[in-house]
């Protein structure tokens, strides 16, 4: 990630976006470690969102998203332990998910796979922004900046898990620390 910055358009979702909405169970026949199926998973990212979401995360006929940043409310990624969830987002072109809070396993799977950065903010950014707004996440400054208004929001400290993210996931972390070869 250049200069520890992710910049792009946001896609707004609500509270409790569960793994069935991120990747519906009928697509779990796809195996993420098979290259073509990884891509296919991406094309279904967030297709389980109800039809009230008039803008779809993946536009019709496309396989990747134009929104590299998803903003949720509380408890993003609740539900199943399926790693297909962060993987489908990553494969679709998502770089980061910003939320007030994350469900435990989803957060962990984001870190373990390195597919998307989970970014927590004290405020409900999904209530302050709209789909299509452009923001910049600065990991060094721990901020989210809204490009049109210049308004800056803080992000929460990642804590001890940052070491694992910085290492590039659990395998690299364990190798760096001599746990495994």
């Amino acid at each position: 990630m250049a200069d520890n910055i992710i910049r792009g358009k946001v896609f707004i979702t609500g509270d409790n976006i569960d793994t069935d909405q991120i990747i519906p169970a009928q697509y779990l026949n796809l195996v993420p470690t098979i290259k073509e199926e990884y891509k296919k998973l991406g094309s279904y990212a967030l297709c389980g969102l109800p039809d009230e979401y008039s803008t779809r995360y993946i536009a019709e006929g496309k396989t990747r998203t134009e929104y590299p940043i998803i903003i949720g409310g509380s408890n993003f990624g609740c539900g199943s332990s399926r790693e297909h969830a962060p993987i489908s987002l990553g494969a679709a072109g998502c770089k980061a998910v910003i939320a007030k809070s994350f469900a435990r396993i989803f957060f962990r799977n984001c870190i373990a796979t390195g597919e998307v950065y989970p970014v927590e903010t004290p405020e409900d950014l999904n209530k302050m922004l709209k789909t299509g707004d452009e923001v910049e996440i600065n990991f060094n400054a721990r901020t989210v900046k809204v490009m049109s208004s210049g308004k800056v929001y803080n992000t929460n400290d990642l804590g001890a898990v940052k070491e694992v993210i910085d290492a590039g996931g659990i395998f690299s972390f364990a190798r760096n620390s001599g746990m495994i070869k």
Partner: protein, 433 residues
Amino acid sequence: MGMTITEKILASASGRERVSPGENIWVSADILMTHDVCGPGTIGVFKREFGEKAKVWDSEGVVIIPDHYIFTADEKCHRNVDALRTFVKEQKLPYFYDPGTSSYSGVCHVTLPEKGHCRPGEVLFGTDSHTCTHGALGEFATGIGNTDAGFVMGTGKLLIKVPPTIKFIIDGKLPKGVTAKDIILRIIGDIGVDGATYCAMEFAGTTIEGLSVEERMTICNMAIEAGGKNGIIAPDEKTIEYVKSKTSKPFKCFHSDPDAQYLTVRRYKAEEFVPVVALPFSPDNVKSARESSQVKIDRSYIGSCTGGKITDFIFAAELLKGRKVTVDTFLVPSTVEVEQAMKEIKVDGKTLVEIFAEAGCLDPAPPSCAACLGGPVDTFGRCNNGEVCVSTTNRNFPGRMGSKDSQTILASPYTAAASAITGHITDPREFLK
């Protein structure tokens, strides 16, 4: 300062005298469970990271239970089970419950305890969020993703954060018609779907002590629906008797110290519980069955890891005996053992399968996860349109049982059966006089 049962197990598994909430520690796993949906990806990660010829850390520690997409024409699903077969052969894994053979069992979370893979004091990781079920047997059990599972497969270890514990103390005698499912739904309704995020949920009190091991599993199963990392119930005589009837392997029982530290302690009186439902589209949208009686249903579904055990079918049979259902009623025993027991166990002189047939239920499907999570479009019981389904399963987010237009209402087997009779949400106590 004392420790909770969760902290004691994690201390033991990390070779430490004591651990505290928030610490990141490497723990040794006793069992890693995976299934057909996450197994192939886990194996993919394992081989990518440790090499094509790598061996799993302990062949007796890896338990593979295909259960999600078994009875479907979908070719990729069959390919995925084949990938498990190849791996099991290559690694010479003794614990594989292979579809289409006499070793097939069904739903992983009911198979694990049935086959003796759950033992007090151990650490069990599974590539399924409902792995928290097994805390009902006094062990630390939690769900993980493929990458973490690939790591465990190669090393037998995992880096985890010690969770703080929320204790739920429930004392007294449950009223007639109220089951473990009503207890856990009520608790999730009280604390919300993120009310226990990252926390251990410890259940105690005389009500919990009075529950069967299977009913305790129903409670711990849904800890994840409140965001919990694990659910846990201290082992007692019932636990020990159950585990000893399934395995001869030794195990160690841990108990929370009287001065253990809890994040919070919540107390309930059993007498205050009533039959409840979780209305669409969240497991914390909990209302009493009585006040939801205006909600019409199109079908009733009894099955899954949380609601398809033999005790669940006995509850349903008690209610359906001598009565008729008015909506399609789907029955999916969780395992082959449960399927067999339904043909043998009798309520008032009739077997469960006889009672269900006379009540007009659809013939029970072969054991699997079936429509609990929707699955491939040809899955038995899947909601393919705008059905409203009362279900003994554990989740009801949009599209959970299939189509985005369908709605799932979570309930106990009693309530699912009572509602099947009337065609609308019904408090089972109207029938259980």
